[in-house]
């Protein structure tokens, strides 16, 4: 017996064209009583599938390359599902925003109550690791800070050793980066390495 039996069985399409395990949603949603359509794994196949199978809901990875293909269908075809609004005071919509943050995007046919999407997104969210994303954000921020420190160190060393004002020290690093087609942080790192010898 399905837990949340929808009033009419919603037809759900999953687009599974990224490495995320979105496909695993299929069984979980089928158990909840949704009508799961055959999955689409490439942007080229989307127009025909949406036309022929008329999904009520499309669940897609936020980072799927097929997103824009779906956007075109939403604009050109009145029966195609539209991207859901993420900005609303409606408390149910908070879940949708969380879903986008976690990497799930949803498209609904017009007139479909967003509340009916909630259990679908609940399941989708449970399958996506929030934590993995947070860890990556943290790592990225740390790299960024480290890069900035390297450039500052190199600049300071140039100012000391060559008696350059700050702007000129920076300009020197930048010019070198341009001349050699390198990133400025790599120039800074190379300079510090040479200076240590």
């Amino acid at each position: 017996m399905p837990l949340h039996s929808p009033p009419t069985r919603l037809r759900v399409l999953l687009v599974t064209d990224t490495a995320k395990p979105i496909g695993e949603l299929r069984d979980a949603l089928a158990r909840l009583g949704y009508d799961m359509l055959s999955e689409v794994a490439a942007p080229g196949a989307l127009p025909r599938t949406v036309e022929e199978q008329r999904p009520d809901v499309v669940i897609i990875d936020t980072d799927s390359p097929s997103r824009d293909t779906l956007e075109q269908l939403a604009v050109m075809n009145e029966h195609a599902p539209r991207p859901v609004l993420m900005f609303s005071s409606d408390p149910d919509q908070q879940r949708i925003r969380d879903a986008v943050r976690a990497g799930v995007s949803a498209y609904l046919v017009e007139g479909l109550d967003a509340g009916r999407l909630a259990p679908i997104l609940e399941v989708a969210l449970a399958r996506f690791s929030h934590e993995a994303q947070l860890r990556k954000r943290l790592a990225d921020a740390e790299t960024e800070l480290a890069n900035r420190k390297v450039i500052d160190d190199a600049k300071r060393l140039l100012m000391e050793r060559r008696g350059l004002p700050e702007q000129e020290a920076y300009a020197l690093l930048r010019r070198h980066a341009m001349d050699h087609g390198m990133k400025i942080v790599d120039v800074a790192r190379q300079f510090l390495r040479l200076a240590q010898r």
Binding site: D63, R67, D68, T69, E71, M86, R101, A177
Partner: protein, 374 residues
């Protein structure tokens, strides 16, 4: 060295003279015209304005939109038309948006299958070339309200082909265009580079027109953010505009700079396309045609966010039935989206001339129409 004027602008905001935010997440899409953000990051042009940029590549324009709206990214390299599509809520969420500046003009194209391109080169009309298919041509672009959709529709209409009634109009990710042409799924596409160069190198398509032949020196990508981002962080927004202006100026300063940029754009985390595919057109090669090359700065003429450009996109949405709002509101919408005074401040701090609104150059488009209309 005197501090930069932008850092000393008398604060209209409660005594804040440095950017309210120091770390900005900037979205971009895998394209040659992502050069300004890529250059700004590679050469860290933001540092002197107190900004650290973090580039966040997005696999779709919908991703750019959603992440701007929910705050995952602060600003983005975006299709001019995407910003206006979101402002008008066409086919998706509505939000008040801001165009901070234009990042480039020209640099896009329409490619058709070699067979169609041959027919057109032999003097057949576009309409007649399509008729040889025995079915409506399938033509792809990149986003329903985007620039490529509008260039393609405009060009088709100018050639007697109704872009919605006579054509099957689809959207595909640009990196998939060449394969779709090769398999016969697609008869042509309008997108940015390097994807035309890639299709030509594989022999699966040929450029039939550059978008500068549709609208000479048309505006293309913009620096976009949510409007409340610009109003809540005016110093940050100005610092970001100054940073990107420096990157645009650098790109137009010396052809060697563009050659360096081609190498950076080739990186796997930017386009992953060989620099030989990127460099020629980035350096202005348009195959001996009279097409105008991509420009990023042109003494600042490229970058001023002219409201009349925004109005053009609204007029095209109305033309193709995507929008039915009152045309008398178009000017007010464009004036609210395009952040001209913020741009003026940033440009003045760098000594970059700002074109006069009253002296907007009149362009003649491929169907003979002029814009802005008299």
């Amino acid at each position: 060295m005197t501090p930069l004027p932008i850092m000393n602008t008398p604060a209209s905001h409660p005594s804040v003279s440095t950017p309210e935010l120091r770390h900005l997440r900037l979205g971009f899409v895998s394209l040659t015209d992502a050069a300004p953000p890529v250059v700004a990051k590679t050469l860290e042009f933001g540092h002197r304005y107190g900004l650290t940029l973090e580039l966040c590549r997005q696999p779709s324009w919908a991703g750019i939109r959603d992440k701007l709206l929910c705050g995952e990214i602060d600003a983005a390299h975006a299709l001019y038309g995407l910003v206006y599509g979101v402002q008008l809520g066409i086919g998706g969420p509505h939000a008040d948006m801001a165009v901070l500046m234009v990042l480039n003009r020209n640099g896009q194209a329409i490619t058709l299958s070699p067979r169609l391109a041959d027919l057109i080169a032999a003097g057949h009309r576009v309409k007649d070339a399509f008729a040889t298919l025995g079915r409506p041509p399938v033509l792809a672009q990149t986003f329903p309200t985007g620039t490529h959709a509008m260039w393609l529709y405009y060009w088709l209409a100018a050639n007697g082909v109704h872009p919605l009634a006579d054509v099957k109009s689809v959207v595909l990710p640009p990196p998939d265009m060449a394969a779709a042409l090769a398999s016969g799924e697609l008869d042509g596409f309008c997108a940015g580079e390097p994807w035309h160069a890639v299709a030509e190198s594989l022999g699966v398509g040929r450029v039939v027109t550059y978008t500068s032949e549709v609208w000479p020196d048309h505006p293309e990508k913009v620096l976009a953010c949510r409007r409340d981002f610009a109003t809540r962080h005016p110093h940050t927004a100005r610092a970001l505009v100054a940073t990107m202006l420096e990157a645009c100026r650098w790109l137009d300063e010396d052809p060697r700079h563009r050659a360096s940029a081609a190498k950076w754009l080739a990186a796997d985390d930017v386009t992953g396309v060989a620099p030989e595919r990127i460099a020629p057109r980035l350096l202005g090669d348009t195959g001996g045609t009279r097409a105008r090359p991509i420009a990023f700065f042109d003494h600042g003429d490229v970058n001023y966010p002219r409201p009349s450009d925004g109005r053009w996109f609204i007029s095209q949405y109305r033309r193709w039935g995507l929008y039915d709002g009152d045309a008398r509101d178009d000017a007010a919408i464009a004036d609210a989206v395009n952040q001209t005074s913020l741009y003026r401040d940033a440009a003045a701090s760098l000594g970059i001339a700002v074109p006069d609104d009253d002296a907007t150059p009149v362009a003649r488009l491929c169907d003979g129409a002029v814009w802005p209309a008299a």
